[in-house]
């Protein structure tokens, strides 16, 4: 650095660089600043000793504090669980048909149910609970229910599932296949009658007669359905397996019948209550007709 010199106005040495006449002064640091640097170095060394820091051949140093990001997560999760204890305790105490009386708890239950739905139910029913017509998973947002849409019934369906072997209380029924029983003309007539129930086809007397002989025990005289056997309502605009003539004919010949796991053994009752509350809140939930009259249950339990 041949160009080092003392800068006259400040009396400071230059570093010897020059750019278009502008020179850089080698102004010394204040002492406290230098000490700040040393302190930072000391801190960094200490930090790398107490926390995991140095990569080794197998893994890395563990650090004296034994901190891990997985442990931190577990701790945070348990803190979050702790925060839910009160809500879960209340939920466990209250019968589900009384849940609507406690709107704060209801809101919490719905929020919890939304999360649980994403994890356990969205695989079939979809993340928006809109189901799938091609796969025959029911839409939970609408006002059409196979087995009933009040919150208590939803809880029962969730707990015991649909057509689950090994659960005595599971919802079960079977529609007989009519392939081979009726000839194709009869099946077409029956299908026409079924579609006429919701005004989608002209009345068909032959189909009506067949319907009256074979179907009304479950689906009702006017196709209003039967919830005790999960028989779909045929007189509305909603079709689980499709609403064209071909769809209906296929369903008459080789009926598809959905199954749902019994969640009673897999999820705790609180989560099932939350799920029921969430599904009930999706817009089609029906009112529970027989509110429990048990005086032992405090109604206005506030969190």
């Amino acid at each position: 650095m041949a160009n080092k010199r003392i800068d006259q106005p400040t009396g400071t040495e230059t570093v010897g660089h020059e750019w278009d006449g502008i020179e850089e002064l080698d102004t010394p640091l204040p002492r406290w600043w230098l000490w700040t640097f040393y302190l930072c170095i000391a801190f960094a060394l200490g930090y790398s000793v107490v926390y995991p820091a140095w990569p080794m051949l197998n893994g890395g140093t563990q650090g004296l504090f034994g901190w891990t990001s997985r442990g931190q997560l577990a701790k945070d999760m348990s803190v979050a669980d702790q925060a839910h204890t009160t809500m879960r305790e209340q939920l466990a105490r209250i019968p589900i048909e009384r849940l609507a009386d406690n709107s704060a708890l209801m809101q919490q239950a719905i929020a919890g149910g939304r999360a649980a739905f994403r994890v356990n139910c969205s695989q079939c029913h979809g993340s928006g609970a809109a189901g799938s017509q091609t796969l025959g998973y029911p839409n939970l947002n609408d006002d059409d229910w196979l087995w009933g849409g009040d919150i208590k019934t939803i809880e029962v369906t969730l707990t015991h599932g649909i057509r689950q072997h090994g659960d005595d209380k599971t919802r079960t029924s079977a529609m007989p296949p009519f392939e081979g029983v009726f000839n194709p003309v009869q099946i077409a007539a029956l299908s026409a009658h079924v579609l006429s129930l919701s005004g989608k086809a002209k009345p068909n007397p032959e189909g009506a007669a067949l319907f009256a002989q074979n179907c009304i025990s479950c689906h009702g005289i006017n196709g209003e359905g039967g919830r005790n056997v999960g028989a779909p309502r045929l007189s509305d605009a909603i079709w689980l397996y499709g609403g064209t003539s071909a769809d209906v004919q296929r369903q008459i010949q080789r009926p598809r019948m959905g199954a749902m796991p019994a969640w009673g053994g897999r999820l705790d009752p609180g989560t099932i209550k939350m799920l029921a509350a969430y599904v009930h809140s999706l817009g089609g939930g029906e009112n529970f007709v027989e509110i429990a009259k048990d005086p032992a249950v405090p109604v206005h339990v506030r969190p």
């Binding site: 400071t12 204040p30 017509q133 006002d143 605009a237 499709g242």
Partner: protein, 519 residues
Amino acid sequence: MSDPDKPSVSEATAVKAGSSATAAPEAATQRHAAHEPSRIALPGKLYESRKTVHNKRIDGPFRRFKWLVMAVTLTIYYVTPWLRWDRGPYAPNQAVLIDLAHRRFYMFSIEIWPQEFYFVAGLLIMAGIGLFLVTSAVGRAWCGYACPQTVWTDLFQHVDRFIDGDRNARIRLDAAPWRAGKVLRRAFKWTIYLVIGFWTGGAWIMYFADAPTLVHDFWRGEAAPVAYITAAILTLATVTLGGFMREQVCIYMCPWPRIQSAMLDEKSLLVTYKDWRGEPRGSLKKAEREPGKIGDCIDCLQCVAVCPTGIDIREGPQIGCITCALCIDACDKVMAEIGRPRGLIDYATLEDCRAEAAGMPPKPVWKTLLHPRTIAYFLIWGSIGAAMLFALGHRVRTTLTVAPDRNPPFMLMSDGSVRNAYTLRLRNMESRPRKMEIALEGLPGAAMWDESIGRDQAASKQVFEVPADQLLAVRAYVVAPAGTATKEFKFRITSLDEQRESDEARTKFTAPGADAGDN
């Protein structure tokens, strides 16, 4: 300019000063190498050790002004959180409150919500431009009088003077060995530092919660941990920055002196040593011996002794000079004692200095303050302020936002009608609960309900009670008769009070397309 020797000196100054605001020190220092700090012998040194500043007591108009500014700024800082302001039963009654937990900022009659943070941004911009304005008009007045670092440093320096005595006593005490007396004195002084620091940090947290409640909780150990942590950090920061770092903050840490250096020009008011009048320096005796050859500066070093940042103003404008003008007080006092005119060190622009050196009459103050740059800054500053006031006066306190459900986009009901779901956010920005009516516009035959209303009560208009000063989220279902096509429509919100404030939100009603007809 009766002295024939002086014009040559003043010419040199004028030329140097004219080239740049910071070129002036060169002019001064080259001539007085003897007064330079001994920084020349530096090679091999990694750091510069600090020279403790023991500034001397001084009295004078600027010192008294500084007292006044200190009293006013500290009063504002300590008293503001204790001012009350009645906002009714649903809002806090603290005049200035930054309610982080509820995301509200209260300032007297103004209440700011998070989405109105542009008001705060505007205030910050105004503060920035205000600093530019002040700098272009009166130089580094912020640094000299109003900066918290200056005010608290001043406060701590008064404590020093009160406990340890004036400059000479403090220098002696600093050099003295650590005996019992010094230890006691220091312990006492640092305790006072801590008390001031704690008082400062403690006052800060009062802005973030109801002050009386917080004080009560604080002493009972029931306040939030963040209150204790913040108070502790600010206590330490105050003691460190005001009690110990002091001028080092201005010289090494603060970016503002650098920015200001770039903003100063020959029209900026600076604390200036009029070297054309003071040089060459000499004692009174010397001046008697060589009449006419010696300037007004008698080299008494009073300007250096009183300086809170320990600089020599006679070296010219420099980063360490916060323009507190205490050296003006000191020099004026000496000039009065030796019977020379005041103002050897004075507030002056470099332009004025040049004119004064050339013997022209002094410029009136308003001319110094009013020049195109200050006027331009003032206009920008004022128009931002006016725009903000206008915006503040025309805020609507009732707003509505709508988010349609996208999964599923629509729902076919068993009677063939179509249902869409929307999340409505009804915002009531008044500090009282209000009833708000939501109406559907442009969707014939449609009805709306939510969880609390029930489908049997569905109607095209619904009334919701929105709690005071809150946002109510409503998940609303809108059902339209079979055959309704996908179309745009509006939700309208109207406050059902005498104000009848209204807002609308345009959104879309989605219906099954032709391909999904038999859904």
